[in-house]
Amino acid sequence: MSSDLTNAIDNVSDERDVRVATGPYQAEFPYERDEEAQVTRREFCNFLFLTSSALFVGAAGFSAKSVYDARKENSFAAAEIPGAGEMQAGSALNFKYPNEADSAILVRAKDGSYAAFGQKCTHLSCPVHYSKQNDRLECPCHEGGFDAKTGAVLYGPPPRPLDKVEIEVLGDRIFATGREVRGNES
């Protein structure tokens, strides 16, 4: 910015007063309006090209990681689901399986049968919850619904069923024995 223009701006605006008022904070939060205004077309062009590169790397990296994760073979160890023996019919219990980061939900239907699913909604990974009133699993984020016995999509935006957690019932004790990611069979 030329010095004439700077002087003209100083004469018609309160820029000088602002700088005086913000003086003590300039060291912590350096802010120069002159520098801010000087984004050249060349710099903007460089920024756009860098953004394009980042978006390409992001798409390729995300795709590669998701395919790698899907092909990775998992071995599951059986683990008892704590507190499952005391569940009433028409209730649900949250647990972690196979790792602490993998939340799951065990549902005891009104007829007394058990079923367990991954708790992440297959739309955008919000946690689903059991609705006793409707006897189904519901996602509160975008109003998706899943069957409480099969995990199949009943309505809403989820594109595939919930992950299925294999369980074994041994008397009063219930064990999780495996976890299966299911695609969209339709």
């Binding site: 390409f56 995300f62 695609g183």
Partner: protein, 88 residues
């Protein structure tokens, strides 16, 4: 009556400047449009991966690569011609 050489020169420079400015605007607009397309492709890839529909990922990555290559050509070669090269 002869035209003033200085006025011809000023008019020529102004036209040259307008031409260069137009090329720059076109470059920026194209790059912005490519970025928007790539943003859409990235969101589609995330959607496909979450739905475990992996067959859609390869075409999406290829489409993003094509967009990036076009952006690269714009960035490297589609520039306004210089004054010394005799064209605007």
């Amino acid at each position: 009556m002869k035209a003033d050489p200085k006025s011809i020169n000023v008019r020529g420079n102004r036209q040259l400047s307008r031409g260069r400015s137009a090329v720059w605007q076109a470059r920026l607009v194209l790059l912005v449009m490519i970025n928007l397309a790539q943003l859409w492709i990235l969101s589609a890839a995330v959607d496909a991966a979450l739905a475990k529909e992996f067959q859609h990922l390869t075409p999406l990555v290829i489409a993003s690569a094509v967009c990036w290559l076009i952006a690269l050509t714009i960035f490297l070669w589609w520039k306004p011609a210089g004054r010394g090269r005799g064209s605007a």
